[in-house]
Amino acid sequence: MGRRKIMLLWGGIAVAIALRSILMGINAPLLLGRSVEVATPITSLKRLAEGYWRKQLGMSPYTGGTYHGSPLLLVCLGHYLEKSLIIFLIADLSGALLLHLIGEILVTVNLKPSDLGDPNKSSLHTHDPEQLSTGNLAALLYLLNPFTIVSCVGGSTSPIENVIILLALYAAIAGNAPLAAFGWALATHLSLYPAILFIPVAVALVGGPDRPSRSLFQNLATSINKNGKSIDGLHGRHQILEGLKWQCLFDLIAWSGIWWLSILGFCSLVLHKQPNGLYEMFKETYGFILTVEDLTPNMGLFWYFFMEVFDFFRPFFLMVFHANILCMLLPLTIRLHHRPLFLSFIFIVVWTVLKSYPSVGDMALYFGLMTLFMEELLGFRYAFLLLNGYICTAILGPVMYNLWIWRGTGNANFYFATALVHAFIQIILIVEGVSTMLKYDRSLKKLVDSLRDCDAHKVPHNEQSEPPPPVEVLTSPIATARA
């Protein structure tokens, strides 16, 4: 490890901590804490304080429709509301650490064109000791991301949700089923949407972490076996070709059940004074998320839509909006099953777009994960448009909100227009991200094919030679397992 790299790493961390401390020092939480982009009805610390106060008085924290978070957060954060910023700082740092660990695992497992000896595509930083590894870079960027900073000091509980989601993903990538189940169950408990992460977590546990599809490896392996020749980059990666670990799926399900039961047990312990504590909890957390009762403006699309839509259409559109998330799960899983982490990244972006109460915390999370795929997403189109779009909406959103709410010179349409653009940009990110990743896999496959062809027919780099049967590429993990 080079000195420059260490300095870069620790310097970045120090800057990140310093920035947060300064913002805390100048009382940014007060300024940001109740801005709608940072604190949603579900994550707002002020509402948490209100819930805690009610709980202390022996009332149900959910009465009055103010608090919509988990009772566990009340217990954990209620006492330390003044010091909560330090808790969030620690959460951010551990989130960065988890990203770093994820990055380390990905580097050891993943297959890159450079590993296959493609002279055209040299790796960005694999063998350069002076450069930051993927994990380090992701961790640093996560810490220095303005969205992360804002959500950390802005008086919302999203840093804690994020770190738990990251924990679940890390554990899934590392093959630790109990921990993954714990992270998944807790994240789902805190905010409903991480429930869909069960798919990537399960896929990661069963099929291993992100890498090109299995068929590609099999092709590669056959070509290697044929020639008795090995490729440098494949050293130590034969464990990839081990069979699918179905046992892990059962472990995951069993552990999830156990964790869920214990979480519910803790919750009922916290709410023991209320007669229907758990029912009320589900109604006020999940029910609140699903029925979109609070029409407070946020970065999402739901609030204005349900403010304007005719009452008799409300259930229908609620169903449609939520179904939009679920509809895409299966197609995405089929296409990206070999890349569970990328799949979860896409899931997170999808839910950020279609969430009832999105906040910058969600954006911080998916940007953190996105940096892990720097190399794969190099072919990303519209990067410039996206960057500018994010900057524009980040600036215009608060401005339009200010004009509407505080100055009274704008109106709701201006703010909603910004929200629409924001959603549009995120949709481009999803679509382009998926398509870039698919293209990348395709290019890898081509590379392997060409390697094999080259070995078999001694025709180097002949793209037009007879292509391999393309059946296995698109089949589900079950099909590949059978093969």
């Binding site: 009055g64 103010t66 839509v309 009274g408």
Partner: protein, 835 residues
Amino acid sequence: MQISSDSRMLKMHSILFWMFTIFLLVRGNTQNPKAEVTLEEEFTEDLLLRPLPDGKVLSHFHFIHKLPQARSYGGHHSLFPKAIFQLVKKFHVKEMELSFTQGRWNYQRWGGFDAIAAFNAKPVGVELWALFDVPKAEVDATWGNLTHALSGLFCASINFLESSTSVAEPSFSFKLDEHWIEGNDTCDSNLGTEKSMNCKQKKHFKEWQNAASITFTEGGKISRGTLSSNRQLGQLRYGALPREAVCTENLTPWLKLLPCRDKSGLTTLLDRSIVYNGFYHSLRLNIKSGQLAEGGILLRQSLTLVLLPSRQERNQKQGSSVHHAVQPQNWSLFSLFGKRLASGCPLAKSSHVSVELVGGFIEQLKEVDQSTIVVEETHLNEQTQSLERNPEYSVDAGSNIGVDPDLQTFESKSMPEVFLPAGEIQTETSLIESDGKLSLGNGLELDLRSNKLFSLSPMPGRILREVKELLPHYGSSKKSSFILEYELQMNKSFPFDVGLSWRINKPLKWSPIRAPFRISRFLVGSGNARGTITTIFKANLAQNFISATSIHENLCRSLQARLLHKKESLQGKDVEIRDESCSAIKDDDAVEGIDVIIFQIVPWYVRMYWHTLTFVLDGNLVPFWNLATVMRLVPAKDRQSPAMMELGIQIPANTVSLTFTIEFDKGFLHIDEHPPDANRGFDIPAAIVSFPGYYSKVQYEYMHNTTLGPFIPSFLQTEKKPMPVYTEILLMQLATPDFSMPYNVITLTCTVLALYFGSLLNVLRRRIGEEERRSTKLGDSTKAGKLKLIISRYLGKTGDKMYSNLTSPKVSKLSRIFIVVIVAVAAHYMLNLGK
């Protein structure tokens, strides 16, 4: 006064005895229901006129219907309005009060601590509360029906109160009867949780504990009371419509309930244009059932008006005076209402007109011109005297009255003109039975017939004087009020007019009886996102603040003196007990502060952060639990019920100001939830601040023996009630969406969603580079399977040569139509099945 102390004591005792007997008599009359037992229906009408410090005149019309239950004529009555009878019977109304108010009662100028203000100062708009005698489960339904019935009866949108979003169930703060005030004697409480509480506090809030779930504190420790049963909890409903516009369509049905309507009697004075041009008017309807013997119904109707006497008469003597604001105003019935009374209601058992001269006014009269007041040795009220001698009871009369700029401009435009010669009225003095003298205490007397201050015409039939209460009548003036009473008799006194015209040209400054605190509530903060509700209590110090302890001392002293006298004369048993209670007051020093209950309803779209409750006491931030003694909080439910707070606090004595703040976030409403004029804002009902230690029962005694028989003006026949003070109504603006945008928003949002769905699916479906290969390859279609072939066949795809031969386009078209028809029929069937 050169009287020896012995003879003076003797005299005092005899006076005390005399007074006490009268006191008992009067008290017995008011409190013993047997005295009021009548088998006949009864209707009485009363009008009270009271000159106010700012030159306006308060007119209070009070009508009482009594319906004994004894006989029933199949629901028919001779006088009692049938609509009300049916209402009470159908909805099992135990007690109900409805008020329509326009204008805001000025507590500082018009007084806020006397019986009239306590019952008739109401918040703007409609206020309705009702206590039902039905099982708790049916209360909501009954309430809903009652609101609909009332809205039909009074042509008002009271039915909006049916929806639970504006209705609350107060437990202890709203309707308080004397029961819990008097439950202070004992200190033993079986509630184990408040062991740390000392006896004093416990004593104060014993009844509250029984009333609601409570949080008590002592030394920063939070402990909780238990929820125990309360008689009224759950059966009382309170709702207010601050936005309701009150006009003649409400007055007319109200008048229709009276037997004489507005054809004869006092109501003939009510010219609509005058009533609705007043500064304040409040229609009130109070129903009590089961109050009279054998469970009859008592219906009170009252109309309170604050009017400015018409300009001509008002200013006949003050043409060019500089100090307009506090010049005494001349007034008469004619100048107020534009007409004289032509007749009393022939159906009424009695018709009375009374003029009230409040204590502060009398006191000021004395100060203005000492020479007009005749010294008289009799009628020394021990209590008044002792209060007067107290050095703490310093008098700075009227210094709180600010000069109203509006009033000034109003006055300067006035033109002097003699309108009503005084002599004309004075011819009608047949009613006089009193000697026309007001005893002012301290041996002073004011002769109504001939004084240099003012002329009153005609002379009153009877004069009543206020008897000071035993319980601290906080902040009251040291002088008793007087009521000059005129009885209207048929064929005798008409046309009747009563008026007061001034002979002096001096400014007259006096102040009404005020509450211990001047309370105002307002919103802090700009923008439509959040804000703070602030309530400020400012002590009415300058004029009549007495530290509560001194009141108790004085009361005890006077009580002891009385008891001493009683002991000598009657040798009563309860003397010792009374004595103890007095000493208990002293020992305990029970009044270390003033108890205040704040009752506040906030609609659900104002999201209150109750944990931000703060008190600022004289500029210092005080922990919430140091002042709060009891709290009941019913948080709001979105789109279902409002938040309700009942908070008891104890304000330390000698507090100058107390600020009480709560932060809130403004909610965002669906377009349908906004009213048509959304940008006007939303009204938040007035908070009620009540002072449980001080209540509104006032005792009067006769100044002189009369031949007219016992008479209590109907507006004084009221129950004890803690003094309520209504705060201002808040107008809160909420952020509005664009009301014209639904279609745009739906289409744009759906476009974005379609973009997401379509393009993502497109990306996922596409196989880069493989599709072309596959399409060029032969025999590929055989691989695709049978299903694809069938589908392609039905869709009429001609790309496949094998099958295009077999199926003609006609057949495929027909089959397509066939499928569509089947699908349509199936869908129709399914939809109908759902129904």
